[in-house]
């Protein structure tokens, strides 16, 4: 069997997160999305750690599950399924190396509460873990890797959203040009990286030095509805060992589910406040200076990939798993209605679809068009078809602004609607 896992999210104890990010809330939304294994996020936070240690229990497969007394009923019958939790956390390492400020976000995945607790004890000697679910520590990312390795051989350390400009290992503003620059002799202990929303596997395949590294994708969700906007497909029985093995060896990793990278908020270069969005070529033509405010532009992910790439095109390396690109279902619906994704009409339509057809991932990836059309309309079925075929137009995101999706030209909607009325 294959199942979907999202290994990087945040709890309500992180900054700027939804209060619905509780164990129950996450459990509920994982089912709505169609996710079988979800990270707890934030295991370093004392408040969250306390909560998960009380509400979760070992499931017997190295993962955790929600205790019976916390199970909720408000989930459409069509979506109900088992959800397992895996202990994860993210640390923001801010330090200086070679006379440059470095800011590197790192994901930790650990096998059990005892390992999490031991890492917490070590880290609480270094900084205040209670100030944020994703704590900032003045700790070299390499030292964090060492601490992880020293604590447990079954723990995983994964550099997070590796291309994002301000907070990642390859980030243009405060990252490195290579994994070796950051992790030095411990680099061989890095077996996977998280590609982030603004890059997809083909972009990463342009770097031969990443050929042996597993590319994984997660949502980094701060609110329940964002869970699973990127995720991983694993094969085999659900277990902690299985997941870790698959990440380490790529055997048992079926592939990743990806954002269209253009939709990510750092795909292109630019200045949000100045309304300037530029392609890498344009940025070079402007000499990296914003034509509006004359200050340095924020360099996006595409630019950075090109700068570090040693191949022109992203040909799939041998042994690399494939990927599927998606647009979150609410956005697909919103595009058909020309409405805001958070609007009532979209939400109603969303619940109608999942109640009838099952979780979001199934609808986006597998449900036959006829079935979709059967419970909604031609326009939605057509939108999902185009999404699956990659026939969408997205004006790229830049400097923190999400890209804007366009599945239909305005001239297309009406004829398609017209067709609808024919049926």
């Amino acid at each position: 069997m294959s199942y979907i896992a999202d290994l990087h999210i945040h709890s309500g104890f992180s900054r700027a997160t939804s209060p619905e990010m509780t164990p129950e809330g996450i459990w509920r939304w994982a089912q709505i999305k169609g996710i079988s294994v979800i990270g707890t996020g934030d295991f370093t936070h004392p408040g969250w750690f306390n909560e998960i240690s009380e509400r979760l229990e070992p499931a017997g497969n190295g993962l955790l599950c929600l205790k019976k007394e916390y199970l909720r009923q408000d989930i459409p019958q069509s979506c109900r399924s088992d959800v397992f939790f895996v202990l994860t956390g993210e640390i923001s390492c801010i330090y200086s190396k070679d006379k440059k400020t470095r800011k590197v976000h790192c994901i930790l995945i650990v096998p059990d509460m005892a390992t999490a607790a031991r890492i917490n004890i070590t880290l609480s000697r270094i900084g205040n873990l209670g100030s944020d679910g994703r704590p900032i520590l003045g700790l070299d990312a390499k030292e964090l890797l060492r601490i992880t390795l020293d604590t447990s051989p079954d723990a995983m350390f994964i550099p997070a959203h590796i291309w994002t400009p301000h907070f990642s290992v390859f980030g243009a503003a405060s990252g490195f040009d290579s994994l070796e620059g950051c992790f030095e002799e411990l680099t061989p202990c890095i077996s996977a990286v998280e590609t982030g929303l603004s890059s997809d596997p083909p972009m990463n395949w342009r770097l031969s030095r990443l050929d042996s590294i597993t590319l994984i994708s997660n949502s980094d969700a701060h609110s329940p509805s964002k869970i699973g906007r990127e995720a991983n497909i694993f094969e085999g029985d659900i277990s902690y060992k299985g997941i870790i093995e698959a990440i380490k060896t790529r055997r048992g990793l079926g592939g990743t589910i990806e954002f269209f990278p253009e939709e990510g908020k750092y795909h292109y270069d630019g200045h949000r406040a100045c309304g300037v969005c530029l392609s890498p070529e344009e940025t070079r033509a402007y000499n990296y200076i914003c034509p509006v405010c004359n200050r340095h532009l924020t360099i996006g992910v595409m630019h950075r990939v090109i700068a570090l790439a040693d191949r022109d095109n992203g040909k799939k390396p041998e042994g690399a798993p494939g990927y599927r690109s998606i647009i979150p279902l609410p956005e697909v619906i919103a595009e058909t209605l020309k409405a805001n994704p958070n609007s009532k009409a979209v939400i109603n339509s969303y619940y109608k679809l999942i109640s009838a057809l099952g979780p979001e991932f199934r609808i986006l990836l597998d449900t036959p068009y006829a079935d979709i059309k059967g419970v909604s309309n031609q326009l939605i079925a057509e939108a999902i078809k185009r999404m699956r075929e990659g026939r969408v137009h997205i004006s790229p995101g830049f400097d923190g602004e999400y890209g804007k999706i366009k599945i239909f030209e305005d001239t297309e909607r009406d004829p398609l609607k017209g067709q609808m009325s024919l049926f």
Binding site: N50, K100, R118, I121, S124, I126, G138, H166, H296, T298
Partner: protein
Amino acid sequence: MVITENQILHGLNEPQIQAVTHTEGPILVVAGPGTGKTLTITRRIAYILSKGVKPEGILAITFTNRAAREMRERTEAYTGQAGRYLFIGTFHAFGIDIIRHTSDRNYRIIGRDDQIEILKNLTGGTTRDALKALDAISRNKNILDGREMGYSDIFKRYETTLKDMDALDLDDLILKAVELLRDRERIGAYAGRFKYIMVDEYQDINPSQYMLIKHLSEFTTNICAVGDSDQAIYSFRGADVENFFNFKKDFCGSRTVVLRENYRSSKVIVDASQSLIRNNVKRIEKDIYAVAPKDDTPIKIIAAADEVAEASAIAREIGKRMGAMSHFQLMQAEESLDYRGGSYRFSDFAVLYRTNSQAGALRDALTEAGIPFRVVGNDKNNRALRDIEKRLAGYLHDGWGSLTLEKILEDAFVSAGEDVLGGLRKNLLLAYMGLPVAQALQKIIDELSLFSSSDAYDPTVDTVTLMTLHMSKGLEFRVVFIAGVEDSIIPYGGPGRDNNDIEEERRLFYVGITRAKEELCITYCHNRSSYGRQKQSMPSLFIKEIPRGYIEYIELPGKDKNRKKPRQQRLF
């Protein structure tokens, strides 16, 4: 290890060379801030060794363990193996050494925690009462005048208790050493071995330490005192800067060398500090000048409405230099960041203040901004940890009956506020509940002992440092903030304090500003709450003593602080 004289003197300036090579007879090295004091002392040790002196013959006394450690590390580059035979340590360490080598009694040495425990029993009061009594007793011992300071009864009972225990406290270590040194017959073999003596921070020695040096000088005249009378800040502990001024009188035929070149701070900071300290009457006049290339970065003076606004302004200034801490902050910024990253790390910043009570607002603001920090000298946390450690050791030693690890930890943590130690108990429990209790307890005790004493500044931990001006002595940071530079905070107290006090406070402020390498930012509030009440506050007179030409003055907007941009003006 053979090192030539040339190598030892390499890179030193003229006065430094004089201080290094003048080895015979007494010498006073007046070392202004950032003038390479430690460098000079370590080279001096290397120089003396290179003349064939045995390392056992050299004694270097420092003010803190940290200074001793640094000096030892830096000396080793020149001495190699021989380094370990040098005596480099604090007065206390030296006191212990004297006692161990020359007394037949086997004293138990008690630390601050034990002292507090004893005094709590004697006074029947709280830790606070005990600390107050402890300060008075310590001061009494250091100044050697036996004056009774309102604790006479407690003092006597305390002394009796120690005597019954055959124990010495830290202050006793010096007194006992002096007592032993008086017996020349007995001590000759030990003390006679030291041919070259160096004393760091000589401006801050107290009468009992002075007596110790004086007695040692009966065995050798090669006494080198190093320090800076402008940085004497410990009179409240009984230190007496007069010892520094009296060096010439005390040690016949002495020579004085003044180190003037400041290698640490920008020219603006050095010049401003000199203008300030010249307002003191009691001092050795000297011209300190900056070696650093010219840099026009002015000293920032920020005026805020209250201590909350002041603290968030400091957090903002740190944030500006570090860049955004999170995506959330980036999204909130009104304008796009000028994006090239900088070179700072959190440990490049220090926030200094006159009294510990100022730390609260600063911690809150830094926590809010997501900036990791460490409060140096916050022994509340430290005491709690040591206390827990002790209780757990008690269980390990005496047994725990049928108690579970969970119950044992609960009991041990009872005295420690859970919030202070942030979830530590839960983590310890979950980490070790799988082990047999005895093994778990041992592991937990080991873990706890790794929490570094927060008394000490730890340069390996990369955080912003919060500490009092007193604690900052001897340290340096790229960017230094001094908060609450207001009347009655610094100089401390209200009317009735005399000129000596003001001069000492000015020295303390001088120590603070000379910690800064690149940037200095001084802040004050118009209103400050004290004991729950808002009170109007005035800028310190020390601010007016900094020439305007060095200053960029920023008045933060008042109430409506979120919207308006700060008004900036440069005053000349």
